[in-house]
């Protein structure tokens, strides 16, 4: 009997905590990465179906991109990206879990503010700490987050064969634009 009471008390507590949290989300975030080398074919892909979830009480954010959703201009490049480099059938997604430091939702405005974002990016079976800045603004449409950071394929155990390495930059620049809307489901 006591256990049941405890369980009920626990459930009430957790549900009230969940209700107090403000959640903002999107399923149409955009991530673009580019690893072009001047005078060679552009190596650039975009995914416009990125999921993201922001807890505006804690500043915690989770982002998920399915790697098969990255579209290249050149079909063969897209095929090589999926089959040889990122191995999207074996490792289908890239995820980021992190926290926006000193985030206070009530202080957001239409004017962009810079925050520090720290978290873990997991990709191709490897995880790496990312520490970058994020620009955040809020309008009637929701909260917009914009960020850029650089990655090295090597750090994620992605090997680029010598034959093509001169055509793919060693540092990949990644940018993300997320328009998050209130979601209290």
């Amino acid at each position: 009997m006591k256990q049941i009471f405890l369980l009920i008390a626990f459930l009430i507590c957790t549900t009230s905590i969940l209700q107090a949290q403000e959640r903002y989300s999107t399923k149409t975030g955009i991530i673009t990465f580019e690893a072009s080398v001047p005078s060679f074919e552009e190596v650039k892909a975009t995914n416009a179906q990125v999921s993201a979830l922001l807890n505006t009480t804690s500043g915690d954010i989770a982002v998920l991109a399915l790697l098969k959703g990255f579209r290249f201009k050149v079909a063969l490049m897209e095929e090589h990206f999926n089959e040889n480099y990122i191995e999207s059938s074996k490792y289908p997604k890239a995820t980021f879990k992190g926290t926006i430091e000193d985030f206070i939702a009530s202080k957001l405005s239409e004017e962009e503010k810079k925050y520090n974002l720290k978290g873990t990016l997991s990709l191709h079976g490897e995880s790496k700490i990312i520490d970058t800045s994020v620009r955040i603004s809020q309008t009637d449409e929701g909260i917009t987050m914009q960020l850029n950071f650089d990655l090295k394929p090597k750090e994620f155990n992605i090997n680029i064969p010598n034959l093509v390495s001169s055509k793919i930059a060693e540092i990949v620049s990644v940018s993300a634009v997320l328009l998050l809307q209130q979601n209290n489901k």
């Binding site: 149409t28 179906q49 098969k68 063969l76 897209e78 999207s88 059938s89 289908p92």
Partner: protein, 125 residues
């Protein structure tokens, strides 16, 4: 005379190799809306298959999904809270709670929102 023939042959072979090579390097993207779909499935059952880890064979495949529109966000719609479908063009004449049939390429499972994702979608009905 013999040399000229040989030269012509080399030019032809090189031209042909170049043509094949170019077609290989710059082959067309798949046209999902024109591909025949390999499976017709309800949105909720598709989600169930991904949750049971029984859907790896569907990745990158063109499939047809049935369900009701439960969410519209920009150029994506969610079917029966289970499958998120992205369109490359803007959506028109789609309203919530209507039943639809959508063809697209299955790109995987999003465990953040617990939905299956498809891209390059087109509306069949």
């Amino acid at each position: 005379m013999k040399n000229r023939k040989g030269f012509l042959m080399i030019v032809l072979v090189l031209g042909f190799a170049g043509y094949i090579g170019y077609n290989y390097l710059y082959k067309e993207h798949r046209n999902i809306s024109e591909e025949t779909s390999s499976l017709e499935i309800s949105a909720s059952y598709l989600l169930e298959r991904f949750k049971k880890n029984d859907a790896a064979s569907l990745l990158n495949k063109t499939i047809t999904v049935t369900g009701t529109v439960s969410e519209i966000e920009k150029n994506t719609i969610t079917l029966s809270n289970s499958v998120n479908c992205n369109f490359e063009t803007d959506l028109k004449n789609i309203s919530l709670s209507t039943p639809v049939i959508i063809k697209g390429r299955c790109i995987g499972y999003d465990d953040l929102f617990e939905v299956v994702k498809m891209d390059q979608c087109s509306i069949i009905k």
